[in-house]
């Protein structure tokens, strides 16, 4: 299991994971491994918090998957179904998973941007004023534009520049297939 997945699991444990991450966890090929890691951490957590609950291997991923696939904001809270096992035992993971699902549902609404901003690639800085420090070469004064933050027209405008530049480039630098790859890469949306 890679570190990124572990990070996501850890985030889910703290109810901090975003929708994409949860989806990634759910679609991970080694579900058994993921689940056992999840349970190990939960046991640790229980120990640390002097909780008494044991964690039984229960798979709630199906329900979370369903809730993610649900339309938009109306994520139904999956009711804990009375199952033949003792309900207290699976209490924690189920709640955590449902919380993750809820958080995701919420994330689709207003709070979503904040989650995205945490990703380094999509970093969007608050300072949006024009950097009018002529000649300055420090990256710190440059406001970042998140491509994801652009609306359709703005993206179209920028990608026209990107394309035209890629065309200049295929002429100028003449790198054959690389030039084409740049072109084709622009022609597919960045997200």
């Amino acid at each position: 299991m890679d570190d990124r997945l572990k990070e996501t699991l850890s985030a889910m444990l703290d109810d901090q994971a975003d929708e994409l991450s949860v989806r990634r966890v759910l679609s991970h090929t080694e579900q058994q491994q993921v689940r056992s890691q999840w349970q190990r951490w939960h046991q640790l957590r229980e120990l640390l918090h002097e909780g008494q609950g044991r964690v039984e291997p229960i798979d709630v991923s199906h329900r979370v998957r369903q809730s993610l696939a649900g339309t938009g904001l109306t994520v139904d809270l999956p009711q804990p179904e009375p199952e033949p096992r003792e309900p207290t035992n699976w209490h924690w993971p189920a709640v955590a998973m449902v919380m993750a699902g809820l958080l995701v549902g919420f994330g689709m609404g207003t709070g979503w941007d904040i989650q995205q901003a945490e990703s380094p690639v999509l970093a969007r800085e608050a300072r949006l004023g024009p950097a009018e420090t002529a000649g300055a070469t420090s990256a710190e004064v440059m406001p970042e534009i998140a491509l994801q933050g652009l609306d359709e027209q703005q993206w179209e405008h920028l990608s026209r520049y990107l394309l035209e530049h890629a065309q200049h480039n295929s002429v100028a630098a003449g790198r054959g297939a690389v030039g084409y790859a740049r072109l084709a890469s622009v022609s597919t949306p960045a997200y």
């Binding site: 920028l158 990608s159 520049y161 530049h165 084409y180 084709a184």
Partner: protein, 336 residues
């Protein structure tokens, strides 16, 4: 254990042999001279090699792959590229004639994807001259897509450009892998064949359009017709990084664009009156490609200055900040 001891001795002996022979092998030719020799082969090899394969291209968090077939026969280059991701689509080229079959990708119109310039011809002879701005070095040998390759680094001599690394197939000099690297050595853009077959001949069937869909064809201008377009109407560039010269531009856009290149990297400057569309200002990066946007007031009009290129953000910003509007009235073309 005797077996273990033996292997240790064997390793030591081999190491000894290697230590003795390595300096001899290196001493044959100065590394930079040899690197230049390989670079000189890069351009011609791109055209004159016949090959087919699949390559991946990654910039930032985007990865795409393409299948390519390339044939050089009787002085004519034939090429077919098929996108392996998304909706597919293909580009077929015979000499200067290009046919594109591309579905509408996201928000880009079909005709915009049409490459408007010749391929490797233009710059093939200029790669050697780039050693003024890049330190060439032969790093060694490696293996890519089943072929033995030479690894050549082109280290940027200043902070205004990125460093490059090329993997060239040993027999033909074909570029089979390349990196664009930042100052910290981080790979910003990479291109690499994952499957490659270098051959003498490919059948005609490899170069036929197979995707069904709306096709657009265009005849490329030949190399001699490629003009260095200088459309700096009404504005000037106060600063440009050393070594970047105005480059041939297809002139397909509606805006006032000028392209510059140092032989490896290129950037384009766009200056347009701000229309109804409100664009954010600042810097945006996709892999090695930087887009810097800035608004500029001249008289009572506002202009959007955009610098797009495979250059560091700081350089792009300096270029953008050096744009000066001389004559606001020269901008007659309104952006849609």
């Amino acid at each position: 254990m005797t077996g273990g001891g033996l292997s240790v001795w064997l390793k030591a002996a081999l190491l000894g042999v290697w230590v003795m022979t390595a300096p001899l092998a290196v001493a044959e030719t100065p590394p930079s001279e040899d690197a230049r020799g390989w670079l000189a082969r890069l351009g011609p090899a791109l055209n004159m090699t016949t090959y087919r394969g699949v390559f991946v291209y990654a910039r930032g968090d985007q990865v795409s792959s393409m299948r390519v077939a390339h044939r050089y026969r009787d002085g004519i280059v034939e090429e077919r590229l098929v996108q392996q991701d998304g909706e597919g689509g293909e580009i077929v080229r015979k000499g200067t004639r290009v046919v594109c079959v591309l579905p509408r990708h996201g928000r880009i119109q079909l005709e915009q994807v049409m490459p408007a310039g010749p391929f490797a011809e233009t710059f093939a002879h200029q790669l050697v001259a780039t050693s003024e701005w890049y330190q060439p070095e032969l790093l060694g040998e490696d293996r890519v897509a089943g072929y033995s390759v030479k690894v050549i680094a082109l280290q940027a001599r200043d902070g205004d450009r990125y460093s490059h690394r090329f993997w060239l197939e040993q027999q033909t000099g074909l570029l089979v892998k390349s990196h664009v690297r930042g100052e910290d050595g981080r790979v910003l853009e990479s291109f690499q064949f994952t499957d490659l077959e270098i051959t003498d001949a490919l059948p005609d069937s490899e170069f036929e359009v197979q995707t069904t869909g709306e096709a657009v064809s265009r005849t490329l201008p030949s190399t001699s017709e490629a003009v260095v377009v200088n459309r700096m109407n009404g504005w000037t560039l106060g600063w440009q990084p050393a070594g970047f010269m105005p480059a041939a531009a297809p002139g397909s856009g509606k805006g006032q664009a000028v392209a510059f290149s140092d032989g490896l990297a290129a950037f384009s400057v766009f200056v347009e009156p701000v229309g109804a569309l409100e664009m954010p200002t600042g810097v945006s990066r996709i892999g090695a490609t930087t887009a810097y946007m800035r608004k500029l007031k001249a008289g009572d009009r506002t202009f959007l200055v955009t610098v797009v290129g495979e250059i560091p953000p700081e350089t792009a910003m300096r270029v953008a900040n050096s744009v000066d509007i001389e004559d606001a009235m020269a901008f007659r073309t309104k952006t849609p």
